[in-house]
Symmetry: C2
Subunit: 347 residues, 2 copies
């Protein structure tokens, strides 16, 4: 009973800080995202295949996604850190940026990222389009500028033509670049996870252990934050509610955006979809395994020490959240022209 | 006439040094490779689709090709420097290796590399299988060891199972890893270049300028070295026959293998297939454009100053060597297990 109270307190604190952060618009978006999917008696909602994207934008966005010419080195593309062969992540604690710089935070998966209520761990981008411009110009990541990225694309005849065809404009701007990237990213949802099939009525889609794991996950309070269509991604919460989270990582969380001290160590709850593929875990990538992560979450967020069996069950449940991975034909990128500025990665 | 003599002299010197280098076996392989393809009245032979590879090895090799866990950082895969979205190259002067080290030489394209008589610029690997082990263990490149790469794969259940299925053995060794990679690479040929269609009798496959460019290419002696099915890739030749090639690059060429001073600045002639996509050019990646490359080659190798028109024609011809690029569905890589050693890219 005491434990349950602590859990409720944690959630209420989360919600209060969340409102204080002024993310009312974001909250609407989360509700809207869930609305698009079938409601269910459970707090977790099945994800459905993406619909409605502009095919031209998606194809162009796919090229840009894989194009390292959007980075200063000519070596790093979106896919370098959000690798679609590896659950849309890089499976590193924190990412490698320009000149092998150590990134400040774990790369979140791009899979199902359209279902997040805001983007980045600290929610500093409202949507995927706004997010997409970030890494290109971040000196720790792709280390380029939007102007130079535009200059590169403008110098490549096949890109020029494709932008014109897709957007109907003579000039390429960062606006079209990020719009195309966002449209591509919106297609990267992963339907047909076994747990979704179970939600839809196929009782045999998960086994007894997985079901037991789900019930423990639900009844112990994990689902208070990890819910909705993304099984997360729809609120900010403090990392370390009952006990503080010990880390060398200096990320300030939402406080970096709001400037409010109460938002320190507050982060967007990550999606648990495909979590089997997106190790290591937490914003600092410090937890190598799901078992370790579940143990830490139980103690720090819920004040509950899961038994080994409970952890095994929950991990088994979490692995039922792996959905169909995007089957992508690698794009063939249009070659640079003689006028395209050449990358000088060692300058 | 004087110029023609110089050209012949250059080719003879090349052949002599080649024989002196003791690459008789390699020469047989080049002949064999050409034999697989339809003979033609021209010195250039059309490339045909790959046949005969073991499908299981190819699929496994494709996964390994895209798997950065074969590198110490967990960040660099084969595809990082031989990007199949970019003509099988990285479009950088020299490659970026572990810890952002500057590589010593331009990454050659993997496309049609099975048609090369030996592998690497200096021919230090006899075939693709031998080549594949090099970058994994090269401290300037993927900076791993074969033993650690094997340890990683052994710890991943789905890989373990796939190796067993494909090779019928209980243990994974570097031998199977490189064999699978080589089998995948053998599929990366690019048939149906417009020039190949022309070789096969379609007179309309290339236009007048392209044909003129080809005739200049042939009649001025370029074809003496750039011939066969790969339009190169079947002899070593000295870079800088008539005039020395000036470069900051310290690669010794074949001399690094043979220890013979006569082999300094001698390199495997690169394939010209897909050369439109594989900029920048030469072993040091110092030439940014095809026009610049043709000009330099004419002066240094043939003692001939091509006119601007001739250069434009030859460049137009070279672009007819772009063939069908491999259409690859990106593999979904099997996730690491709890026992898989985690990469520490910043240690």
């Amino acid at each position: 009973m005491v434990k349950m109270k602590k859990t409720m307190l944690a959630c209420m604190l989360g919600s209060l800080a969340y409102m204080a952060g002024g993310y009312a618009v974001a909250q609407d978006k989360a509700a809207e995202a869930t609305e698009r999917y079938k409601p269910n008696h459970e707090l977790i909602v099945a994800v459905e295949p993406a619909v409605g994207q502009d095919p031209g934008q998606v194809e162009l966005g796919k090229k840009l996604w894989f194009d390292p010419r959007l980075s200063r080195s000519g070596f790093i593309s979106c896919n370098s850190c959000h690798n679609l062969s590896m659950g849309g992540s890089d499976n590193l604690p924190t990412s490698i940026g320009h000149n092998w710089q150590e990134g400040p935070i774990n790369s979140p998966t791009v899979l199902n990222s359209s279902l997040n209520f805001v983007q980045f761990w600290d929610g500093r981008a409202a949507d995927l389009k706004e997010q997409a411009g970030g890494p290109i110009a971040n000196p720790m990541e792709m280390a380029f500028t939007h102007d130079l990225a535009v200059e590169i694309l403008e110098s490549i005849p096949a890109y020029k033509e494709e932008f014109k065809k897709v957007f109907g404009k003579d000039e390429i701007t960062i606006d079209e670049i990020t719009q195309a990237l966002a449209s591509f990213e919106e297609t990267l949802v992963t339907p047909n996870a076994r747990f979704d099939l179970w939600l839809k009525g196929d009782d045999n889609a998960i086994n007894d252990q997985e079901l037991r794991g789900y019930l423990t996950f639900k009844n112990s309070g994990c689902v208070a934050c990890h819910n909705g269509v993304a099984v997360g991604g729809n609120t900010f919460q403090k990392m370390g509610v009952i006990e503080p989270y010990v880390t060398d990582n200096e990320s300030a969380g939402v406080a970096g955006v709001t400037g409010n001290d109460i938002d320190r160590m507050r982060f967007k709850v990550p999606t648990l979809r495909n979590v089997e593929l997106t190790y290591p875990y937490f914003h600092d990538g410090a937890a190598n395994t799901l078992a370790e992560s579940v143990d830490i979450m139980g103690r720090l967020q819920l004040g509950r020490k899961f038994t080994e069996n409970e952890i095994e069950d929950i991990v088994a449940f979490l692995k039922t959240l792996t959905g169909d991975q995007p089957q992508l034909v690698m794009p063939i990128l249009p070659p640079s022209s003689d006028l395209t500025p050449r990358a000088k990665p060692f300058d």
